[in-house]
């Protein structure tokens, strides 16, 4: 049990967090920016949840994922603002990252959609739940999934043919 938080009685079973570390980390890796450490997202999400009364959370796994999704979204906004400010300053230093080509293909997919792909196609989650987890409407999620699959397949087929 978690102790040491003054004045808080939101006690949690830490084994629950340990058990959810791996799946939450995978989710964080998918939805986080390419320059965001998944563990940092997980850590911050854990911290936020530790401050919430456990009895108020129905499904801890989904709750953590939503927090991770929101944190990741926030971080992207912050970085975009920063990039925008940098551009206004006339700094022409571009961000160039190096990845294996199949991973850079994934990077070209909007992070929430990339995460949807992972949840539905790898983890086998129903679209309804996956869409809710990443904060998308179901119809949008369906269309996004179809297009992402199509795009990814086309890109990977192109690469396989090279």
């Amino acid at each position: 049990m978690l102790d040491g938080l003054d004045g808080l009685e939101y006690r949690h079973d830490l084994d629950e967090f340990r058990a959810l570390y791996e799946p939450t980390r995978r989710f964080a890796a998918m939805i986080g920016g390419h320059d965001v450490e998944p563990d940092d997202l997980v850590q911050e999400a854990f911290a936020r949840v530790l401050l919430v009364e456990r009895s108020r959370i129905d499904d801890l796994g989904r709750y953590l994922r939503r927090i991770v999704a929101n944190l990741a979204h926030n971080e992207r906004r912050r970085l975009r603002r920063k990039a925008s400010a940098t551009a206004r300053l006339g700094d022409d230093v571009a961000t160039i990252d190096r990845y294996p080509s199949d991973l850079s293909d994934l990077l070209q997919i909007e992070p929430r959609v990339r995460c949807l792909l992972y949840l539905v196609d790898v983890e086998g989650e129903p679209i309804a739940i996956a869409a809710d987890t990443v904060g998308m409407a179901q119809p949008s999620a369906r269309m996004a999934l179809t297009r992402a699959r199509r795009r990814l397949k086309a890109t990977l087929s192109e690469e396989a043919g090279r």
Binding site: G4, L14, F17, Y21, R26, M30, G33, H34, V36, E37, D40, Q43, F46, A47, R48, L50, L51, V52, R62, Y63, I67, N70, N74, E75, R76, R77, R80, R81, L89, A94, T95, I96, D97, R98, Y99, P100, L103, D105, L106, L107, I109, E110, P111, R114, L117, Y118, V120, V122, G124, E125, P126, I127, P139, S140, M143, T146, A148, L152, L156, A160
Partner: protein
Amino acid sequence: MNDRDRFPSPDEAATEALRRWASRGTRRGSDAVLAAAQARAAELQHLGANVHSHDSDGFSIEPTPHPAAEVPATAGRMTARRGETTMSDSLEPIAPDRPLDEPVAIDMSGRPLRVPRRNRAIAGVGLAALLGVGGYAAFASQTDGGARSPEAAVEQLAKAISDEDALAAVDVLAPAEVASMRASLEQAATKAEQFDIVEDAARPLTGIDFDVDGLTTEVETLADGYAKVTITGGVVDVAIEPTGLAPRVQNRGVEPTREQVDLAESGGPGDLGLFVVAVERDGGWYVSPAYTGMEYAREVWNQDHTPVPAPAFGTADPASLGAGTPESAVRDALEAWRASDWVRLAELAPPAELPVWEYRDLVVAASRDLEPNFTVERFDVQAVVDGSRATATIAGNGSLGDGGTWQVGGECPVTFPHASDSASDSPGAGAPIPAAPSFCLAGNAGGSLVTNLFLFGSGPSEGPITVELVEHGGRWFVSPTRTALDALNQFVASVDERFVAAILEDYAGIEPDGTIQLGVPVEVSTRGVFDFEIYEFDGRAGQEVIGEFEFAQSDERDLFCCSGDARIVRPDGEVLGDVSWYPFALPVDGRYRVVVRPGTALVTFTLWDAKDAPPGVVNDFSDEVTCDANGCSETVESSAFPVSDCVEGPAGTVCRYYDDEGNVVEVVETPIGDPVSVTTAKASGTETTASSSLAP
């Protein structure tokens, strides 16, 4: 071959890429992360920040279905050392798993994925190649050829490529392997001319320049009349000059391209050297694609398995192989497959077309782990013989070892390669989806070919399946090449102007199906991955329009159910933009067209003036992305949390925005390691300031 001996399919590659991406980053482990999280939680509590309501830019962190703890409402970024800190300020670039030499520019903008014009151009060139090159080869296959030696055959092939002379190139390919392509390619040539994919079917490669220089080879005799020709040196130069292409393809935005390949360094499959197998037929030497493929398969297999010796080349005697009738050849093939009798299966392939019988040791070795597990409940074969050829119509069904069923012929539903276990949890799914055969193959194989070439999975199909057979030495053989070409014929036959328009996104020659009024739904009657309907409407400059889609079914297993989209097109056919996700701003007053591509289940389509669109039509992201004829741009402003411009100040970049309490938040963003200050100007006028720094 076993799994590691084959290339992953795009589906597998995508899944593998997703898995790798999911495991990226530096793993600290659950205990370390949890310990740091506890410290972070204590810090948050100590600072009294509202970590549950909104982060620094006002974006909600708290999942909406779950109430948050009631803590004081302030806003700001919290900082600490890496491993104990908020993700906002502790971010370090991750080390890529396997850096490549070539840098890859990463687009993290989150903007919609649009089909670049270059891709359409590539589709056009591909279509031209499919429909045009083949036609050229068809005429070539009528001529006699052959070279005086194995190396001469390869040199002749290289020269033919350099001269863009497909006739000469086909002339040095083994006749028995090329001859079966003739009818298919003639049909393709006709289609290519019909739809202006190529200007001249006799010269389909105009605009594409091949050049082979400095070719050197080594010849190894495999057997009498069989030789392996290894390419030891040479450079292939390939250039695309758009002005030489047919205007219809040229207009798709083809750009000049030049590629150079060093043949000595490029190698073949399995890092083997580049080689071909040449065969002697009637006194002339020819390059054999079939023997080349089989020999590569054998050498790749031998790299990490018990070596399979070279076959006894040229020993297949048709009179002792095959089957007595076309029907028995097909039945025997199915039974051999079911019984894992790979030698018998190899006996049923035409030796001159596909030398698998000579390579039967390899076939048996590579198939050792294959255990087809199915039963046959019904299998009907009817063959129509035409001289030394026959066409067998087959239909049947049975069960699979995993509890599923298989079916050939009849009617196949849409397949769901990404099926989840249950479709019943999809709201709107209605009645349960009937169980579909695990494996189903039915008519219109060409249509399935198209679907699988361009998209995932396969669409619905129905009708009998046909298998082509050939007779040699009084015995009948199942012809894989002719059967595959039969499917290709069906595809080519199904190509029409609308299909070409869809592939090239060139709708200039298509008459509109009607008009559409903004806000008034139209019923979409077409169904299909490559179908579309075109409606006209009048628009104003700056007017933003967006499409709304209503689908017939909401079964998440149907890959194509929700793949419909809509494009805004000028009357001259040029595609201006997509209105499937984001509002599109019309550039000028005038008449426009909207091309609606329905997928498999679109029922109604509504084109809205974005300002009149009902809630939910405008996509979640559309407050961040706007599109016009110049492309999509992105802003971080949202109506809920307006953000002012960031200003560069002496201490760093200062961004001001509002939280949901109406507080003005100022954040000075500085490089990692420098002090970060967060100032919250409360709506009441009071002000709090926090400042801390990150460890470098």
